[in-house]
Symmetry: C2
Subunit: 450 residues, 2 copies
């Protein structure tokens, strides 16, 4: 397979074919292209053009394409399709993907679309899945799985699997249940193939099966699956009844979204936006944190104004405030990032106090090294050892306090059940700017004895 490459020429050609309604050529061109690549092409089209293609191509391909296109475009396309047309796409999808799409529609539209789904079993399963919150195992799971009873034989099992497997795209594991439909174990297809035909499932299944509860949070599911290197995990309710299964590809998406979100929060972006979103969307995501920065800057202004009289002789002190603010911000971001990441990977252990002491030592070491450079710079350029000492001594204290705030805030937020990731970024930079400048002037005043 030569890898697919999205080119401007290809997009232009497809736009032209759509414009001229050259259906046969479009089908010929796109039939052999993987749905993920068709989605990339469609992302470059206008909503009307995209809708044209979705209507033209077979549902077994376009349904998968719909799951992959950008959110905004999908919304526009779904708006252009009738409830019946949407229902036809959903028939082709696994229940988890179908629910992801239907969940984006209005309550009323959802009912219309569901009533147009012809396959009764599929319809009921989708209705069931819609009940679960999006960020729970139930919201992520699919109903498609291969289930066998512990009383069956291997031969009987293989026969039944041939039936069930037709509608399950990928068989990761065969789940073994008892008469009450309670999950009791699992089998791999490999185990089944290797086993003798007349064996009973009860004799060969592996009872040590990982599972998650339907109400578990998706991030916890992701942790379990990546920790135990699972490719699929069964989902059960409180009485251990087997309800569905989650596959690793969905978890890869969860992990990516989680990482993207943390990265954006650290950069001061509050909503999930992409480079290609509109200016209004990008402004909505960026302005709140900038406004926080503005308020912080005004705070710094007020502090400096308050110290104005004291320091009329020492204008030079004011020229170092950007340096102080920058160092406080940088140290705070560094220490909070390490804590946030440690919390996400579950490797922050031990007491908060021990961690604060460690950060204090670390900040004191970094701060002293940096302060030495600054001391000599100020001493040499200004020729005043007192000022040099005042500025560099404050820098050490500012760095220590910044490190402590950066360590404490995410740990505190985490204890309160708030996502600690919001602590890395403008929140910590802004508060550290203010504290840093305040501490800087206090210490300088003390050292200079004014």
């Amino acid at each position: 397979m030569t890898p697919f490459k999205l080119t401007e020429e290809l997009v232009a050609e497809i736009k032209l074919l759509i414009y001229n309604q050259e259906d046969v050529q479009l089908e010929g061109l796109l039939n052999e292209v993987h749905y993920a690549d068709v989605a990339e092409i469609i992302n470059e089209l206008a909503a009307e053009e995209a809708t044209y293609l979705i209507k033209l191509l077979d549902s077994d391909k376009t349904s998968d394409v719909l799951t992959e296109v950008d959110d905004d475009l999908r919304e526009a396309i779904l708006g252009n399709l009738s409830s019946k047309e949407i229902a036809e796409e959903l028939e082709e999808l696994d229940t988890d993907d179908a629910v992801d799409i239907i969940a984006e529609l209005s309550e009323e539209r959802q009912q219309e679309v569901i009533s147009n789904i012809e396959d009764e079993e599929h319809k009921e399963e989708i209705k069931e899945l819609l009940k679960y919150a999006e960020d729970t195992a139930g919201g992520l799971m699919a109903k498609e799985l291969v289930k066998v009873y512990d009383t069956w034989t291997v031969a009987g099992c293989l026969r039944r699997i041939r039936g069930q497997a037709e509608e399950v795209t990928r068989v990761h594991s065969v789940y073994v249940v008892n008469k009450q439909d309670e999950l009791v174990g699992r089998l791999s297809l490999k185990d089944l193939i290797v086993a003798k035909n007349e064996k009973k499932i009860a004799d060969i299944y592996i009872s040590n099966v990982d599972y998650v509860n339907v109400e578990d949070n998706v991030e916890d599911v992701a942790k379990v699956m990546s920790k135990y290197d699972l490719e699929a995990i069964p989902v059960v309710d409180n009485s251990k009844t087997l309800l569905g299964r989650i596959t690793i590809d969905d978890i890869v998406d969860v992990l990516k979204e989680e990482a993207d979100k943390d990265y954006q929060l650290a950069a001061g972006i509050t909503q999930d936006v992409e480079a290609d979103d509109s200016i209004i969307e990008l402004t909505r995501a960026r302005l709140p944190w900038l406004f926080l920065g503005l308020v912080g800057g005004v705070g710094a202004f007020l502090i400096m104004e308050g110290f104005q009289d004291t320091f009329n002789k020492y204008a030079v002190l004011f020229f170092f405030t950007p340096l102080i603010a920058a160092m406080a911000g940088n140290v705070g971001v560094q220490s909070s990032a390490i804590i946030v990441q440690g919390l996400a990977n579950d490797d922050v252990k031990g007491s908060i106090n021990r961690r604060l002491i460690k950060e204090m030592l670390l900040a004191a070491l970094n701060g002293t090294i940096l302060a030495l450079f600054l001391f000599f710079f100020v001493w040499v350029t200004k020729g005043d050892v007192n000022t040099a000492f005042a500025i560099s001594a404050s820098l050490v204290v500012v760095i220590i306090v910044a490190g402590l705030i950066g360590t404490f805030v995410p740990l505190f937020l985490n204890k309160q059940g708030i996502d600690p990731a919001i602590a890395t970024g403008p929140f910590i930079t802004t508060s550290n700017d203010i504290f840093g400048i305040l501490i800087y002037f206090w210490i300088a005043k003390m050292v200079l004895g004014i």
Copy 2:
């Protein structure tokens, strides 16, 4: 399965059992625990205690434990084991995991360990894999796979698979090769089970198979696998000979490492460190960026000193420099983060110019809104409309320039083949601090006509 919970009591109990050499009890306690959980326990032990456990427990468990423990501890444990003992652990591992461990040893130690591996095939495969660079498909792949020839029948195939599958933990796909061992297609176990016994493989295999070249970069492999939702991908050489396969659990690790690295770079941490690393390691990772911040701060100082005479009347201008620097930094980080993420996800399309124009409009919009607030604040508190206008007009320009720098730098680095992730963080904050303050004073000087 009740989820495993690491408690201090459990760790204390195990430490005591190790101290008293209560081997039977230790085995009883740990035999039923998943290797990933045993690794969590071991991470809490001293190197000598950890080595004791590794020697005590069965290799089929400890080998997997070794792949999961923290790097530093693994290094210490391997140092405590003889070459023969390490070789015994490696016998139990898939080739990809075995190579990951052996690659951490010195050249000389590697030879010793390899010569102690008894399984000749395993030994040769490990030697082959050691030749590939760690960040290539070859460095990630395992030799364990199920391979069938297109001339076989389904029945013959199932018979042979029973043999091959014993040594392959998880069978994702059956790879179909021709007489020259060239990859020609794939089959799922499901396809085999569903097919009639007397069919020829040549008649039922799927020829549309994704694959990667052994020299492809792991990040590209991760992109292909997550884009096409693949759970395993075959690896071939330039003549399409099947060499190995990469599974999704390895890709999950690559994606996590990549995300962690980008997050740390954005926070100004240059090396891969964890919250529990030593103070020296953490300092080495953090000090360089802080030093950059210090240099930036000194730059800001020099600029402000240069404008000192001009602004003797306008001390208030100096009090807003932290605000200006913070806004320049925040805007720069926001715009670079969006570009860095867009580049990572391959959704930054179109020309650089178009993107810069968009960022300029966005920054102008954000800047104007923020400047309006600042204008009224300064006007009301200082009662001087000229100063208020000078400061807020500069803010708009500063924000626009900061946004342009934040957009341009990662795009430029990416074009030069440098990881754009280094652009989000101290690098952009520091340069934006300096440019921001410089522009601020220029514009203010112009507006105030001094």
